[in-house]
Every structure is written in structure tokens, then in C-alpha cells.
């Protein structure tokens, strides 16, 4: 076990292949911090519990001549190992609750996007810009995904994680997402933004983020929504404010919807 612990621990420091991404928002970093804090507590408790157990397994073997002791209970021990975990849990719970409160506060956004899930693509509507479009799996992935496609997925860039029309948002802006669905439940997830919100038909859920770094961030639908569930990725491009404005303007001019944004 301690071996496994070490793998996990070193994994934790390694790149995003192994661990949760730190992400590009204040709250994604906080979430990452919570994740690591709880993880290290578990490692610590694991080391103690498994340490004692392994010691006992070695020392108290019959083969090593151990004679069974007679004790059957101990009030002190029982109280101790009830109370100590409670304290540890409190230490975890307080910062978790703080982060949770912040996650829920989507007031005063700079920009609001209504996201609607469809089987199987996303629809985005920029509420104040009067802009809306569908976003589906990009063609190269689409062609390669079939059973007899003959195309090696390894040759497709961002296989299954590329869309025809990404969401574009300005860096530093507070973006509020209003998430809903047109048919079944979907879920909108971008790990780097630490947002996962279910898209429930007939209900609107709120989420928000404020990206601090420009870049392209990818995610997927994370609620089983039928045959195409694995094929409705999400791409968010965080760009400088003027680039964002330019993008909005071209979009408004009715530029061909298929054009990539770059």
C-alpha cells in the first residue's frame, strides 16, 4: 500500500496526465488545493493505520512465536479514534465550505452565456451580444470515430476534444453560465475552469468563472446522455478583450458560422 501511496504522491506532483489540473481560475486553484489537502490527510492517516497494521502482521505472527493477548476493548482507545477523525474532518470541512460559498456566488457578471445541451451538441447564446451558435464535434474526430473508419485516432489532433465552433470569452471577465437542456440531462464540464454543471431540461442552473490566463481549454459532456455522450466536447477559448470584441463583431456580421475562430 505504501507503494501505492508513493505512486499517487509522485503522481500528484507530475503533470496533468496524472493529477487534477490547477486550472486557470482562482476557484480552480482553490479546488485543487482542497483536493491536495484532503489527499495528503488521507495519505497521512493511511501511513499511520497501515503502518500499525503491517507492524502487527510482521510481529504478531504465530510463526514468529506470538502468543495471543487477552484484551478485548479499551474505552480510551475508542474515544481517541472517534474524536481525532472528527477533528481532522473539521479541518477539512471549513475551507471546503468557504470555497463552496464562493462557487455559488454568480452575481454581477460581465458576460452571460446561456448554454443548452442537445443530443448531441451544445448550443451557446451570448445573452447581451445577441449571438448564438451550435457547437459540435469537429470533422476530423467525427470522421475517425466510426468503427470502420480506418483512421488511427492517434493521428487526429485533440481526438474527440475538438469542436467546430468554440466558445470565446475575454480573459479576466466574470462569465456567468446559465445551463439548461433541450432533451435529456447533460453536464457541462471544463476541468481547467473547475466548472461542472448539469444541464437539466426545464431547469436553469447557474455557474460562473473568471479565467486569469488566455488559452484553449477543453472539456466534455459528463452526464450520460445516450449514444453520443462521448462525442459532445466543449472548447473554451480565453482571449484578450479586444480579440474577443473582434470575434463578436465578425460573428454579428453574419460571418460564415463554420469558420474557425483563429
Amino acid at each position: 500500500m505504501s507503494l501505492l501511496g508513493i505512486t499517487f504522491a509522485s503522481a500528484a506532483q507530475a503533470e496533468w496526465q496524472l493529477n487534477m489540473p490547477t486550472g486557470v481560475t482562482e476557484l480552480s486553484a482553490e479546488t485543487y488545493g482542497l483536493h491536495m489537502m484532503v489527499f495528503w490527510w488521507c495519505v497521512a492517516i493511511g501511513i499511520v493505520v497501515f503502518g500499525v497494521m503491517i507492524y502487527s502482521l510482521i510481529k504478531h505472527r504465530k510463526a514468529a512465536g506470538a502468543k495471543p493477548a487477552k484484551f478485548t476493548h479499551s474505552m480510551t482507545a475508542e474515544i481517541l479514534w472517534t474524536a481525532v477523525p472528527v477533528v481532522i474532518l473539521l479541518i477539512m470541512a471549513v475551507p471546503a465550505a468557504e470555497t463552496m460559498v464562493k462557487l455559488e456566488d454568480s452575481r454581477d457578471p460581465d458576460l452571460t452565456i446561456v448554454i443548452t445541451g442537445y443530443q448531441w451538441r451544445w448550443h451557446y447564446k451570448y445573452q447581451d451580444e445577441g449571438l448564438d451558435f451550435y457547437s459540435s464535434l469537429a470533422l476530423p474526430s467525427l470522421e475517425a470515430r466510426g468503427k470502420q473508419s480506418g483512421i488511427d485516432p492517434n493521428t487526429v489532433d485533440n481526438y474527440l476534444l475538438e469542436v467546430d465552433r468554440p466558445v470565446v470569452v475575454p480573459v479576466g471577465a466574470k462569465v456567468r453560465l446559465l445551463v439548461t437542456s433541450n432533451d435529456v440531462v447533460h453536464s457541462w464540464w471544463v476541468p481547467e475552469l473547475a466548472i461542472k454543471k448539469d444541464a437539466v431540461p426545464g431547469m436553469v442552473n447557474e455557474a460562473w468563472f473568471r479565467a486569469t490566463e488566455t488559452g484553449t481549454y477543453r472539456g466534455q459532456c459528463t452526464e450520460l446522455c445516450g449514444r453520443g455522450h462521448g462525442y459532445m466536447p466543449i472548447v473554451v477559448e480565453v482571449v484578450e478583450p479586444d480579440a474577443y470584441q473582434a470575434w463578436v463583431d465578425t460573428r454579428k456580421d453574419g460571418a460564415p458560422q463554420v469558420a474557425a475562430t483563429q
Binding site: 484532503v38 488521507c42 502482521l57 505472527r61 465550505a97 485516432p153 453536464s187 426545464g202 445516450g226 462521448g230
Partner: protein, 532 residues
């Protein structure tokens, strides 16, 4: 032993087992019914496992190779339903049938005819469920959680799914009523509640949980049925309902359900560790209180499966705190096991090995459970392979290992012979190594962003998926060793009544194999000496 022999040969009007198929079809004997439950669940474990192999084969490398996405979803759904309702739960009921009357000195289960019925409903239920594989529109593909509106898109399989769930529920409820009544009403006169073995205790609590939540599941799927066919609006926002309402009702059942699958496992392990440590279970009473607390808490944490569904803040806070609390009584259990081993005199036969692996690996699964309970972090984990890793750790090296441990532990009592220890150890080591190879990398996959329930994935997830698939094949093949153990179960040395050096309890006072009828009159004055 003399007294024991006298009790058991005391047969009067009782005849031996009937001949032929009638013995099994019409059985009212707890041992025969227990055997049927156990064999049925083994078959289901293999069927569900075969489906897992389909899943893992498809996921071994990126790209679609073998199945269509729709069929893949059916495999995931059926795998889970079969493993949960067909393998793990009936297996524990099988152990309960065999062992509870022996442990409490009862002549049989309290309601023997109903006992037969609760078993024979299962083949019907799973026959119906498996037949959906051949129906237009395919088998259910909405995940075992059956969330609407997706589940309403199921084809002809839909009503069959609903009614097979009803049947599973009826079977479980009747089985549980039998367990509770047996435990409350059929104990040997001098066995007070707090003298009961922990396995009996955990089953008492489990049965209570089952009776409390299976009807709720039945209600939930009934609402699905009427929404689909009779125009009700339970899960339709336009009519004033809410799709999320189903999730609440489902998880009100679903969360206690996961403890239904682990509490009897705790019980089995609590029997085995003292035996092979040659030391009495540490903190017997606090084990009882811990199990009861877990059961109580399990009713008020369900929405931790719904942290991303858009609940009000207060709800999320409440469910996060309540969920975290479960770590406390579960910790008490783990600590008590360790304290039982402490300064014992341990030997490592196969049951003990499985029990020890259970303690290690279940705890790891518990830790990841605690991580999932942290709501902001769960936003990142939810519906990814991190969750898949979590629950397979608590279910496979958890529930399944405890079942294996129990099977090896009581096999000599059932057959009268020691199983092949070398094969048993081989089975253990192969299983333990491969189970980690299979499920440990899934943590990384989940953290790296791989959603669950997808038939194909981005190439960056390829390496760990490949490892997991190799592990799964290895784990699956290792289970064939267990078949071999069963086939050779009567080839070993003859077992005496006690079977294991450190074993204590009434079940070890009757001959091995346990005769068809035991304790036709309740054992007297043997409880005290047995619970040393």
C-alpha cells in the same frame, strides 16, 4: 462435541433431502436455499464480469473497435445492475441463509417457504433483464441509475427493466423480512442481542436498510413507468415535476444500497480476523454501534451523488458535512480490526489473506470516498473515472473480496473438506495484484479528465486505459481459479467440526459438513463458552 452430536442426530419426523430437482425447486431448507443463492450469484458474477470484459476490451485503446456506442452503454448498465442486484446482494443473502441459523442456533430460517420464493424470484427477474439484450432498441442503456428523461428513450426493453427491478425488490424485501425475523425470533434462548456474532448484527442492520429503501426504489421506477405510459409528470418540468426529483428518490435508495453491499462484508471480515488472530474481536459492542451509525447516516447523505445538479447552497453544505461524518464510524471499524490483530497470533490462510486485503483496499476506497465528499472537489471528480475507481475499490476488493473470504472460510463447513490451499493462495495473490492494476490507474484517468460511461476517449488517456484493461483481463482470468477451487472442494483433507484452530461460534460446534438439519432443538448453555 458429544452434546452437539446428540442434538443433530435428533431427527424424529424429519426426513433427508428430497431426491432430484424437487429438492431445489421446492426447498425449504436454509442450507439448500443458501447454496442456490450462492451459486446463482456466482453465475451472475461471471455474466456481469463478462460484460465488464466487453467494456474493458472496447476501452483498451482509443477508437471504436468492437461495439457500437449504444451497445457499450447497455453493457455498462447491465454490468452494474447484474453485479449489484444479481451478484453481490444475493451472495450475501446466500451467506445469511447458510450461516445465520447456524450462528444463532436456529433450526432454519423463520419463514422457510417464503425463503424459497425470495430465491426463485431472482432467476425470473434476471431472466427478464437479460432477455432485454435481444429486444428491439437494445438493452437498457441509461446507466444503472436510470435517470430520466434518458431512460425514457429506452426501446421495448423499458417496461421489462422496470418490472425486473420490481421483482428484485420483492425478492430482497422478502429475504430481508426473513433475516430480521430469524434473528429476532429464532435465537437460542441464552443468546442476547449483544452476544450475537457481528456477522449476524451487520445482517440485521442490512436487512432493515433493505426493507426501508427497496420499496422507495420500487416507487421511483413506478413513477418512471407512469411517466412513460400513462402521462404523469413526476419528472417533467412542464407539468410541475422535475427530472432531478428522480435522482433524489433514486439516491435515497442508492446510497443506503451501497452500505447494504458493504455492511455484511464488514460482518464477514469481523468473523475472520479474530479467528486467524486467535484473539477475540476488539470492541464488539462498538462495532455494533458503528454499524448502526453508518446505517443511520446512510439515510441523510444521498445527495452527495448530486453535487453538480444545482442544489441550493444549504443543501450542499448539509450533504457534504453528513457524508464526511460517515468516515468516523467506518474508521472505528477499521481501527477495531487493526486492534484485533494487534498482539494476536496470526496465521495467513486464504480467508485471512482476503480479509486483510479487504481492510487495506477498502480503506483506500473509503479515502477516495471522503475526497468525493468534498463538494468543490467533487465538482472535478464527479462522473469521471475517479468515481469509477472509488466504487470499484469499495466493491471489488471490498464486497467481492469479503465474499471470497467468507466462501473460503466456511467452505470446509459446507463441504466437510478443506479446499486446496495452494489454489486458494494463488487465487488470492492473482486477484489482489490484478485488482490494483485494473482500478488504481482509474484514479489518474479521472483526475486527468476522463468522463465515465464513454465508449471512446481522447488519446491522452490511452496508456492508463490499456493498463486497466490488461489488469481486468488478468483479474477476470484469476477468477477461474476460484472455479477450480470449487470443483476440487471435496478433494482435500477431511475437516473436523472446528475447522480452524482459532474459530469460535455455534457454527463450529456442528459437524462438517453441516448436516441437513441442525439445531432442531435450540442449543443450551453453549453461547458463553463459544463467545470466549
Amino acid at each position: 462435541m458429544a452434546t452437539a452430536a446428540a442434538d443433530i442426530t435428533d431427527h424424529h419426523d424429519d426426513h433427508g433431502p428430497a431426491k432430484g430437482i424437487g429438492r431445489w425447486l421446492f426447498s425449504t431448507n436454509h442450507k439448500d436455499i443458501g447454496t442456490m443463492y450462492l451459486l446463482f450469484s456466482l453465475v451472475m458474477f461471471f455474466v456481469g464480469g463478462a460484460m465488464a470484459m466487453v467494456i474493458r476490451s472496447e476501452l483498451a485503446v482509443p477508437g471504436l473497435q468492437f461495439v457500437d456506442p449504444g451497445f457499450f452503454n447497455s453493457m455498462t448498465t447491465m454490468h452494474a445492475l447484474i453485479m449489484v442486484f444479481g451478484a453481490v446482494m444475493p451472495a450475501f443473502v446466500g451467506l445469511a441463509n447458510w450461516m445465520i441459523p447456524l450462528m444463532i442456533g436456529a433450526p432454519d430460517m423463520a419463514l422457510p417457504r417464503m425463503n424459497n420464493w425470495s430465491f426463485w424470484i431472482l432467476p425470473v427477474a434476471f431472466g427478464i433483464l437479460l432477455s432485454t439484450l435481444f429486444m428491439p432498441g437494445g438493452a437498457p442503456a441509461s446507466g444503472w441509475t436510470m435517470y430520466p428523461p434518458l431512460v425514457l428513450q429506452t426501446g421495448d426493453a423499458f417496461p421489462f427493466l422496470i418490472f425486473s427491478v420490481h421483482l428484485m425488490g420483492i425478492s430482497s424485501i422478502m429475504g430481508s423480512i426473513n433475516v430480521i425475523v430469524t434473528i429476532i425470533n429464532m435465537r437460542a434462548p441464552d443468546m442476547s442481542l449483544l452476544k450475537m456474532p457481528i456477522f449476524v448484527w451487520t445482517w440485521l442492520i442490512t436487512a432493515y436498510l433493505l426493507i426501508a429503501v427497496m420499496p422507495v426504489l420500487a416507487g421511483a421506477v413506478t413513477m418512471l413507468l407512469t411517466d412513460q405510459f400513462f402521462g404523469t409528470s413526476f419528472f417533467l418540468a412542464a407539468g410541475g415535476g422535475d427530472p432531478v426529483m428522480f435522482q433524489h428518490i433514486f439516491w435515497f435508495f442508492g446510497h443506503p444500497e451501497v452500505y447494504i453491499m458493504i455492511l455484511p462484508a464488514f460482518g464477514v471480515v469481523s468473523e475472520i480476523i479474530p479467528t486467524f488472530s486467535r484473539k477475540k474481536l476488539f470492541g464488539h459492542d462498538s462495532m455494533v454501534y458503528a454499524a448502526s451509525s453508518i446505517a443511520f447516516l446512510s439515510f441523510i447523505v444521498w445527495a452527495h451523488h448530486m453535487f453538480t445538479v444545482g442544489m441550493p447552497l444549504t443543501g450542499q453544505l448539509f450533504f457534504m458535512f453528513a457524508t464526511m461524518l460517515i468516515a468516523v464510524p467506518t474508521g472505528v471499524k477499521v481501527f477495531n480490526w487493526v486492534a484485533t490483530m494487534w498482539r494476536g497470533s496470526m496465521t495467513f490462510e486464504t480467508p485471512m489473506l482476503f480479509a486483510l486485503a479487504f481492510v487495506f483496499l477498502f480503506t483506500i476506497g473509503g479515502f477516495s470516498g471522503l475526497m468525493l465528499a468534498i463538494q468543490p472537489a467533487d465538482v472535478q471528480y464527479h462522473d469521471t473515472y475517479f468515481v469509477v475507481a472509488h466504487f470499484h475499490y469499495v466493491l471489488v476488493p471490498g464486497s467481492i473480496f469479503a465474499l471470497m473470504a467468507g466462501a473460503y472460510y466456511w467452505l470446509p463447513k459446507w463441504t466437510g473438506y478443506y479446499y486446496n490451499e495452494t489454489l486458494g493462495k494463488l487465487h488470492f495473490w492473482m486477484s489482489t495484484i490484478f485488482v490494483n492494476v485494473t482500478f488504481f490507474p482509474m484514479h489518474f484517468l479521472g483526475l486527468a479528465g476522463m468522463p465515465r460511461r464513454i465508449p471512446d476517449y481522447s488519446t491522452q488517456f490511452a496508456d492508463f486505459n490499456f493498463i486497466a484493461s490488461i489488469g481486468a483481463m488478468g483479474f477476470g482470468l484469476s477468477q477461474l481459479i476460484f472455479l477450480l477451487v470449487l470443483l476440487t472442494a471435496k478433494k482435500g483433507a477431511k475437516a473436523d467440526d472446528r475447522v480452524w484452530e482459532g474459530a469460535h461460534g455455534l457454527e463450529w460446534t456442528v459437524p462438517s459438513p453441516a448436516p441437513w438439519h441442525t439445531f432442531t432443538t435450540p442449543p443450551k448453555n453453549r453461547i458463553a463458552e463459544e463467545s470466549f
